[in-house]
């Protein structure tokens, strides 16, 4: 179905915290605990929105703008990503670059808000975050470029809608490589193990957590919500490449995609529970490896 619709954006904005809940619940179940309720992230967001915020005197407007701009950019990005059989709200050739750089904008503002506090911990986290993202960017863009070449379009919605069973049958190795690269990017960009532990609060080991240490109240709510939406959006990309099923019924496809997203959440929980965090010096190797996978896929497609 090529009618642009609100469905992808609505699902992204509505169900993103649920995905976070699924991941947390999976990790708890595997660890043998009962864990949080699945809807706990929504409750956390509501709680945070009702709180007040304290701002340090050493910060400037950047600190206050960071979460807001970040959320705005992420919501805009949700308008670009298709879901199931539906086209995204906005799609034009080259929108995959806009998508990647909207997410980068979010990250940029989070980073400069962290640097604005003048705290050395946050600066440390900021520098790590930026390094890893810089290394993950080629993996993401080259992988998407490979899929774009395969399907012959530069816009996200046509690309993902054209990945069908036939394309898989024809170019299975390349698509498998792209899927692997996108999975690594998914884990890196969202600060999941094996790159970063979202549950740690030891300052020397945090990356994402440490950047948002000084935010509170609604600001923290914005940041957490934006992170959840980013998780959802990158997951959608991965599901779009991996799941080649496209029937004619829009609702059926969306339901299938939702099930796949929840399965991805469970998978992420499994990965996080079964691995330890990589040493920080080893993370660039992992990222370069993901980049190499993307390059390999691209070379296979270009041949």
């Amino acid at each position: 179905m090529s009618v642009p619709s609100l469905l992808p954006a609505a699902l992204a904005l509505g169900l993103a915290p649920l995905l976070v809940g699924v991941i947390t619940r999976t990790k708890a179940v595997i660890a043998g605990r009962v864990g949080q309720p699945l809807l706990q992230p929504y409750r956390d967001l509501r709680k945070l929105m009702r709180k007040g915020a304290v701002y340090s005197r050493t910060t400037t407007w950047v600190f206050r703008a960071g979460p807001v701009v970040g959320l705005a950019a992420t919501v805009l990005a949700s308008a670009l990503v298709p879901y199931g059989g539906s086209f995204a709200l906005v799609s034009f050739p080259g929108d995959l670059f806009v998508f990647a750089y909207l997410l980068a904008l979010t990250r940029f503002f989070t980073v400069i808000a962290a640097l604005d506090t003048g705290s050395s911990f946050e600066g440390m986290g900021a520098s790590r975050e930026v390094t890893f993202s810089a290394l993950a960017e080629p993996a993401l863009l080259l992988g998407l470029a490979a899929v774009a070449r395969m399907t012959g379009s530069l816009s996200l919605s046509p690309i993902l809608s054209r990945v069908t069973v036939e394309v898989w049958a024809q170019a299975a190795p390349a698509l498998a490589l792209v899927a692997a690269a996108l999975l690594v990017v998914f884990l890196v960009e969202n600060g999941r193990i094996p790159v970063d532990d979202p549950a740690t609060h030891l300052e020397l080991t945090m990356i994402h957590e440490v950047m948002i240490l000084d935010h509170g109240g609604p600001d923290l709510a914005f940041i957490l919500y934006a992170a959840a939406v980013k998780l959802w959006l990158l997951g959608t990309l991965l599901i779009g490449v991996v799941l080649p099923v496209h029937s004619d019924n829009r609702w059926l496809d969306s339901a299938a995609a939702t099930v796949a997203m929840l399965a991805l959440g469970v998978l992420t929980g499994l990965i996080e529970s079964s691995m330890a965090r990589l040493r920080l010096v080893r993370v660039p190797n992992l990222l370069v490896g993901a980049g190499v996978l993307s390059v390999l896929a691209l070379l296979l497609v270009l041949r």
């Binding site: 190795p173 370069v288 190499v292 996978l293 390999l296 070379l299 296979l300 041949r303």
Partner: protein, 214 residues
Amino acid sequence: MVEMVLICIVLTNFALLGSSRLSACIRLVALQGVLLGFLTLLARESALSVRAPVLALTSTGLKGVAFPWLLSRALRDADVRREVEPFVGQSLSMLLGTLALAASLWLAARLPQPNPALSPLVVPVAFFTILMGLFLIVSRKTALSQVLGYLVLENGIYAFGVGVVEGTPMLVELRVLLDLLVAVLVMGIVVFHIGREFDHIDTDQLTVLRDWDR
């Protein structure tokens, strides 16, 4: 199917570039040997007779089991530090590997297609494996990893022979297997001697024999 096997071979090469532990490298080379056994079976599907599977089994057994076992023994007996300390860092190695892959694809495109080509990917993957073998020999410092690089080089040449050379497959495989067998045996013995003599297997320190300023 053939393409899948070839891409897995390429992935093992990249994994070798990024590995820092000798035992992991030995396992990866063993995996490469097993993949090449699959390739042999796939390549000779048309040829009847018992010879092809027997040969595939022998080569898999030798390259996937016997040589790695031998090298692990040498590693253990030499009692050295397990880390491979390369001249070229892992990330840079992987980037160079990507360049080598692009170069192999270009080179294979320059040469006219051999007649009964198994798949258009065979020649580039073989060239790439050969280049990776040479790169491993040059960029690694321990004697054992140089032997592993030599094994990878031979794997690449074997892949080329199996995938491209028509005629009796026996001679191709026998030749490479013979080469490997004796070479690895001899090298394994020498590595053992090196470990015993020097208390390390770091070939970067084998610099006594040189031309100026003794």
